[in-house]
Symmetry: C2
């Protein structure tokens, strides 16, 4: 069995160790090959391990960290004062070769900046991007990026995101010659912002990218494209909008509706409907799709939702394991090498 | 009975007169006080009136227009070459006082530009914004703008949109002291783009605006705010994302699922569920919420979806009627006068 070691920022996120530690234990119990380095305050972490089976504890190590980056800190300030924080130490463990990937639910901007500083972007990548995979109506999946790492992007950055997304669709989803689209407010060439127009002309000039043009946000789940590219502000808003609508639909199916007048049959059928919707779209529920991959780095960094619960954080840990097993950075680097003009 | 005269751009939208003329007749049949000026090619319109009751035709007049602005035309070019187009003539009918409002399903950018040129913005408004009203989870409604009229906005523009949105929430929805929020990618003050930060500080300085801060897109339907403000690119993406998710959910409930194995009972229950979801969220279905109001002008201009069908275009006509009856421009002007510093 090949050992797989991940560093977890145990202090990040809205709930810190109260969520990350139980999630870590859950992952250790599920995956025999997994070893975890829990980075954070031993005083906060240790009590949560009190009732844990000693067999699990053999694959868990606490790496002490004095401080935490606040989730509302300005990224630039947080990065300057990052020495000794759980997030930075977790990333340094990758740099030192002690961990193969890192998972954090902390400040997105700080994680992005620190990862760029410590793990370094791949050649040809200006800035890493946050990516996730969404299920679509045709029973396939769509790679979507950037989800919030870069709130302002020029055309070149969007084009780089598109290339990385295409590699992910090929290598992770197994799509041959994946279709790549830019998210825009109309399909006509004249629509939208200048950076999107620039990205379109760059992508049109790369023969190995199957660029299919602009798509509007209502096509995100219809399966018209395998990769959808946008800037981080728009990506974040899109994803949050989806979450909001889906949460409301699921709650509607859960609610009692007409109250006592509902028969047992109706309750049963609603439960059945809800299970079916959850099966098809539950993946869009933040509890289940949690774990956006920071693409374009020389190592693997997974960003969990700040509000992730135990289950969601465990999913982010699984995402990190998958990315390690599938050698994501190496595959992106190889593709970039083939597509981009040589710098030397 | 007070007469109400609207000008319709009969040629705009994906389907032109095939949709706008039947929708016009439907509206005339529903509202006795309504008179319509159908602007477009008589040769295209007249055949569609062949079987119409002559009583309805008394309240309908064809205003000839030679040409149409293409939906994929660059707005700047389209505006320069707009003389004689159905959209321009429809707007001129407002300017001339022959119509009280105009409805068009044509090119959004051109409609925005021409409306600004011909109808003129209100004092204190840099650029008009597209607004709609969305139902939320607390059984109320939220005013959302801009939906695509201005894809790039500075902080002042966003603040103007917020003021107009607050007037709409008060006057149209009847909300006292409506809450106003800026759409952002986090609730912390440091999050997001500079123009949003600027808008926040302007809004904080206006005592009569109940500014509550930033909200994320997953709060759009939860009822946490009465007015949600964003730039037109983000607004368009948000609305289209919602549409996409809702279409998929509704189609899922319509689909046959497990095929022949479904009992009549299950089919019946699914139909019931679908009716319930449609009742609560069908308003988000483009067929039903169609008709975004171009706010900030000295007259009333309603933008219909380009892909609107007859039913949806008829809804846009109703929106125009409501805006006339509720004197939307006059009310916004009065509020702007009270809030903005006097220019003289």
């Amino acid at each position: 069995m090949i050992r797989l070691t991940l560093a977890l920022d145990a202090m990040g996120g809205d709930f810190g160790p109260a969520v990350t530690v139980p999630a870590a234990l859950q992952a250790l119990a599920s995956y025999q090959q997994l070893e975890l380095l829990l980075v954070g305050s031993p005083a906060a972490i240790t009590p949560l391990l009190a009732k844990t089976d000693s067999v699990l504890l053999e694959r868990l190590q606490i790496i002490p960290a004095e401080s935490v980056i606040a989730s509302d800190a300005r990224p630039s300030q947080a990065i300057r004062a990052s020495r000794g924080t759980s997030m930075r130490i977790a990333l340094e463990l990758i740099k030192e070769g002690r961990a193969q990937a890192c998972v954090s639910a902390g400040n997105t901007g700080a994680l992005m900046g620190l990862a760029k500083l410590l793990i370094k972007p791949l050649d040809g990548i200006t800035r890493p991007a946050l990516m996730t995979v969404l299920p679509h109506q045709q029973r396939g999946k769509t790679v979507v990026l950037d989800l919030g790492a870069n709130i302002e992007c020029d055309g070149e950055m969007l084009a780089q995101f598109a290339i990385m997304g295409a590699v992910m669709a090929e290598e992770i989803l197994g799509v041959v010659n994946p279709r790549v689209a830019l998210l825009n407010i109309g399909e006509e060439e004249t629509k939208g912002l200048d950076n999107i127009h620039q990205a379109a002309s760059i992508l049109q000039s790369i023969p190995s990218i199957n660029y299919i043009g602009y798509l509007e946000a209502n096509e995100l789940l219809t399966g018209k494209t395998d990769v959808m590219v946008c800037d981080g502000f728009v990506g974040n808003v899109t994803l949050k909008t989806m979450e909001g609508v889906i949460r409301i639909f699921l709650s509607l199916l859960k609610s009692s509706g007409n109250g006592d007048r509902q028969s047992w049959l109706m309750k049963w059928v609603k439960r059945w409907m809800r299970a079916r919707l959850t099966r098809q779209f539950g993946h869009l529920n933040p509890d289940q799709y949690n774990g956006a991959c920071l693409l374009g780095l020389r190592g693997i960094v997974i960003k969990s939702h700040g509000a992730a619960n135990q289950r969601a954080f465990a999913v982010a840990i699984e995402q990190a394991m998958q990315a390690v097993e599938r050698q994501v950075p190496e595959r992106i680097a190889a593709r970039l090498n083939a597509v981009l003009p040589k710098s030397d």
